[in-house]
Amino acid sequence: MSGQQAHRAGPGWFTRVFAHGLSGWVTLITYIFMLAPIVVLIAFAFNAGRSTVVWTGFSLDWFEVVWNNRHIARALQVSLIVAVASAAISTATGALAAVAITRRQFLGRDALGAALAAPLVLPEIVLGVALLVFMSFMGVTLGYGTMIIGHVLVSLPFSTLIVRAAASSLDLQLENAAADLGANEWQTFRMVTLPQLMPAIFTAFILSATLSFDNLVMSTFTSGVGTTTLPLRIYSMLKLGITPEINALGTLLVVANVAILFLVMGRYLPLMLKTSRR
């Protein structure tokens, strides 16, 4: 009786093998699959030869090539300008829209909320083509303006969603309290609502800037003469043949992204955890 019970209570061999043994391996393999290409990319950035598959020796030459490439420097500058400008517009618009949607009653509120999330599910290429057609119809010259608008379009749903999530978890009573203590709507927003949304707004800004910096599809349709972004430049470099110069550039981008990530996490994650714990 007791033996039977013990047998039934313990996990079967199937569960033991798959749940306890295999899941660890699957996780490991997944990580290798995800990270191996990046490791290889970084490794060959230090290759002495021109090949990105055959190792011939260690050197930092390719980083020097990247450093001296005027086109890359120029593309980086364009990318940064577009990323910062579009992220600023996207975050400001998204934050205000998020506050309006979560805080106010008005006609078409739900429709607006859904419409702002729509670009998430629309193929970006469709958005890009539509914007290009619209711009040429309006007679607008392609350049910084069109590109920034395009990138705002791509990142706006994300920044709205992030700030919306934060805004909907705010305590409505606090705004009542502010009004009760004599603050008008603007003072309430500036002194009570906005400071509490700051971590979310900062996150939205960083995400928008990253989305813009990485963007290729929208940039293809909206860039003009002299506004070639870094991804566009890399893509056109590939057409001329792959050299470790691209690996070196990729390595620098990975390092920069990870650095930003740590900066954000280090500064804002404890802060966000602290506010959410309350």
């Binding site: 009573q173 009004a179 009760d180 004599g182 002194m191 400071p195 506010t275």
Partner: protein
Amino acid sequence: MQGAVELRGVVKRFNTFTALRRMDLTIRQGEFFTMLGASGCGKTTTLRLIAGFELPTEGHILIDGQDVSDVPAHLRPVHTVFQSYALFPHLSILDNVSFPLTVRRVPRRQRLERARAALDLVQMGGFPDRKPSQLSGGQQQRVALARALVNEPKVLLLDEPLGALDLKLRKEMQHELKQMQRRLGITFVFVTHDQEEALTMSDRIALMRGGEIIQLDTPSGLYNAPSSLYAAEFIGETNMIPGRVVEAGAGRARVEALGGHFDVACSEPPAAGAAVTLTIRPERVTPVAANASNSAGGRLVDVDFIGTDLRLVYTMSDGTRVTLRRQNTGAAPPQVGQGAQLGLAADDLRLFVT
């Protein structure tokens, strides 16, 4: 005399639900006024109407003689202490308390001075730089109070402010709030569902039910002379005794109840034959001699030891339970099962037609 707050024919409807039906009320200058009732009685709605978070569907609200019916919350000379405290989590204690002065553009030096004084008033001067999350519930409550008082409002609204505190702290704060109100002379409008708290603190109490005030009286008036069976039941402990009127006289009725006959003082006695409920507070029930008038016999079924008091529960000959409350004098309580004759004096009994 002009009231601190006046409600004139105020009606509040939310879609089809009527939260307040025609409320006329004058809250006097400098009084501690309490709105008491079970949840959903309209007490919080009334408070929110005075604060300006809700606008009345009909009628007018006057604060200090000024019609504020259409004035938004931030321009009304009233401040609220919320049950959830509603302290701003991103601001320090000092910045929280000086908030009402900051939005009014009071110069910095004066602002800090007044905020410190307000914190001292509630005995929270010790750590002005802490954040609200670093304080206990009772401390947060004090800070919320300081913040509501710093701008010296004409009227202070308190929405169940002690609801989240434990019993001991609650008793302390009741006492302190009452003292503070006397000292500052500000009109307090207090909302609570706790009848004991209302009795302890208030100058006057409005007992509310179903969006209406059913009795407006002093604590002793409400306790000693409830105007309805609901009021008698809601406030304090009460014995409810079913009976039937056998004879109606001038200012008096003779009622058959508990297997005997009782004279009851009553200004408008109902006609003979009417079914009534008699009520009497447990501390007014007294043991009497077996042949005393206005008394009935019962058997002790339960003794509750409360500390200061003893509660003795009797079952009467018709099955009704009557509770007697007497001071704990240190003498041994009577044995369960003993018989006793309970006297219910004509002036202590109240009669309600059922």
